[in-house]
Symmetry: C2
């Protein structure tokens, strides 16, 4: 399932013959797939996908066992970029409250982007409707990473129940991004206000 | 687009010849479509849809201009039932806080149902990724109805800013239902706790 990781690992040793061309087809397919799935949904067919990536179906099936595996790998591959859009770098010297608010400020900005289609992890899980699908597993793990970021900050900030606050903040993130999709408009401070209220109530400094 | 309404209107006058059979095909198609779109997503093809409903494609296209129109009409048709699952009846004699909490208590219950796939309005909008799609318009209007329910109750309960609280509660509803889908588990009190905290902060009695 996780072809993204195995490819990275291959780079540790000497590249096999044809590795560069292989990697480039793979990367192109992963990038095209991530773009298409985000803008049109994971229901996009293999035909359209290969066409957009300029890759033959045969090449696709040599690289990925199934479309399901490609959906999962493309989400996994794009995950670090998605996280970097909202989660601040470690040790940026700011207090936990500011670091948590950074996530919601960035979400508010992203929601004003005409191409914004909500949280890619939530969208994937909601579209697939199957918690066992390999891409739903990727989605769940990545939402857990956001919750873990919140929990760590909440703990540093002295929240009464860091895990509870972290789950609440994740709900605000997902609910606010869903709202922005449903309403087709930017958030206008809603997410930041809610995060602030919940941090205050949880006794975070 | 809104075939659901035009059919209701037709019932005001004398039924045309063949009306009963026509209405029954229509109702069967709307019900099958709503079920299938909720459990498998709005990407389900016309072929599969007609097969599940036991209706020919020709009959479907006589009743609906397009699949898009059917997606919208089936969501609209099911909307009163969806609302009744969470929104309490008018004038049940309870205080605004209890009436608002009713929505979240019901959501917590629903999220424990193995067939729960999240809020159908949010799911539809997130899957379609197009705010102009007739079904996205239906979704938006129905989320606005939930917000309006919260706003009215928040006003009766003396909240400082009823509209702001109503939007926050809608975000909790959507974020919590998304979480239940992503995590594939029941909510365990999260939505009720968040709603309570936000109502307290907003000064609702």
């Amino acid at each position: 399932m996780n072809n993204g990781t195995s490819n990275t690992r291959a780079a540790d040793g000497p590249p096999p013959a044809g590795h560069a061309a292989h990697a480039s087809t793979r990367e192109r397919l992963l990038a095209s797939a991530a773009d298409l799935f985000y803008t049109e949904g994971v229901g996009v067919g293999v035909e359209a996908l290969c066409k957009a990536a300029g890759v033959s179906k045969r090449s696709m099936y040599l690289l990925f066992d199934s479309k399901d595996a490609l959906v999962a790998a493309s989400l996994e591959n794009r995950a670090p970029m998605y996280h970097a859009l909202t989660i601040p770098p470690a040790d940026d010297g700011r207090a936990p409250r500011a670091r948590i608010l950074h996530v919601f400020e960035r979400l508010e900005e992203l929601s004003g982007n005409p191409g914004y289609r909500g949280c890619p992890f939530v969208a994937t899980a909601v579209e697939l409707k199957n918690p066992e699908h390999p891409a739903s597993v990727v989605a769940r793990r990545n939402k857990d990473e956001l919750t873990e970021f919140f929990r760590t900050e909440a703990e540093h900030g002295g929240a009464a129940d860091p895990q509870a606050l972290a789950r609440q903040l994740t709900v605000v993130f997902d609910g606010a991004s869903a709202r922005s999709v449903v309403q087709a408009q930017a958030l206008d401070g809603l997410a930041v206000t809610m995060a602030t209220t919940l941090m205050d109530a949880a006794g975070l400094d």
